[in-house]
Amino acid sequence: MSTTFNRRDFVKSAGALGLLGTSAITGCASVGGVAKPRVVVVGGGFGGATAAKYIAMWSDGKIDVTLVERGDAFVSCPLSNLVIGGSKQMADVTVSYDGLGKRGIRRVKGEAVGFDADKKTLSLADGTTLSYDRLILSPGIDFMYESLPGLASADARQKVLAAWKAGPETVALRNQLTAMKDGGVYAIHIPKAPYRCPPGPYERACQVAWYFQQAKPKSKVLILDANEDVVSKKGLFMKAWNGQYKGIVEYRNNQEIQDVDARTNTLKMSFGDDVKADVLNLLPPMRAGNIATQNGLNNSNKRWCLIDWLTYESTAVKNVHILGDALQIAPLMPKSGHMANQHAKVCAAAVVAQLTGEAVNTTPMVANTCYSFIDNRNVVHVASVHRYDAAQKTMVTVPGSGGLSAEANTAEGGFANSWARNIWADMLA
């Protein structure tokens, strides 16, 4: 649908005027002063879709909202480890974008590649240009392949999968596991924090172990962690690995790698012998998504994006807001989907206020919860609540708030599924 739809409805801005003639002028914010303020959101994940919905809802239609997303439907990373373990299907973690259309949000299918901060235009790979008053980027993460020459080719990346963006790679990893012989080894390599979803790799190890227990009992799960220790929910995961998955899961810390040989599924370790696996799952080091990195928004270590925590506006470029995993997070704020949804609401409130001449809230709060599935039914969580600290100009945890599950339990198995359906509806319905 994209090409004709795009051209008719969206090439109203800047350079396209000459091509399309006067009929295109009506929608241009700079003409006549009656047009609605425009927000363009890039990325239909937990951050971007939520921002689009809440701006439309809270502005009561007074702001024109466009969502640019390259995918056809939303595929959730949370719960996708259950597809890898085999207890859920892709359809269970896939949600349509149609609900946003019912809220008057226009969706443009395409890949955003750059923006002009002076002209306030966003450009897409297909040449489309969109005008904005405020641009919101929720670009997620991309991988730092430059640190792993062995993954330079597309072939290598299709063999040694990351499967850290839910979608075709999720299915491909599942297929590698089902094709593996019983008695084989699945190894997952975890990069140094920060990376997307701190407990995610450990949950995945549990899901693969659960699958092996059902279908391939002689097989092993090897966790190779570049970190000094389990990054999240340590006690709860250890309990599973030393309990229900004893003899299946082996955890090794301080496992830094030099490179990988995709042909032989071999990790070249910084210290000690090479490690070979039948199914090798490598999570490369991560950084803010390409559109942020390629347009100078990655002003923290050239890796993550710094923002004003009251508005989520980039400290590098005016009128550009950034959400989600791409941020240089405040201490103890994980890169999670739940968190991105919360960023989006603080940002949405601020952007609506800015564009309608109201005061921006100076006391924002955000909260996080990450549920992790130990098997197909038992779940553990970690939760935290954060408030804005005006003196430090950052988010700090509220003392005494938050915590962990006492142990894995099925009640939270139910709530984790409920959480997923409610948060998907909160962003997309």
Partner: protein, 112 residues
């Protein structure tokens, strides 16, 4: 999980009701710095309780509940008086009485 479980025995305790009155009057005195504060705070609960407190799952809906009931429940969670709580006892500790009163007020005005 059945939400009814958590609704049972919600307000009977007298101390709970008194606490509600205290919290509500505290909020009546302190005007929020920002007119949308209640809405903004309540949006943090939507991840689990649904947009504007209308849940589409087994997590209880908050939309349309009496503000004083929500305030009382939050206090019970915070004080560790809901033994079956899986997570609310931890989240409730993150908010002041004033913030809870603002959120409760917002949810009470949403259609069920």
């Amino acid at each position: 999980m059945n939400p009814v479980k958590f609704r049972g025995g919600r307000v009977p305790a007298l101390f709970g009701a008194l606490a509600v009155v205290a919290a509500l009057s505290a909020s009546a005195q302190a005007q929020p710095a920002n007119a949308n504060l209640g809405r903004n705070l309540a949006a943090q609960c939507a991840n689990c309780h649904g947009t504007n407190g209308r849940s589409v799952t087994s997590v209880p809906s908050l939309a349309g509940q009496d503000a004083k009931d929500i305030v009382a429940r939050m206090k019970e969670f915070r004080d560790g008086k809901v033994p079956k709580a899986t997570i609310m006892h931890q989240l409730a500790k993150g908010y002041t009485d004033e913030q809870v009163a603002l959120m409760a007020e917002f949810f009470s005005k949403q259609a069920e």
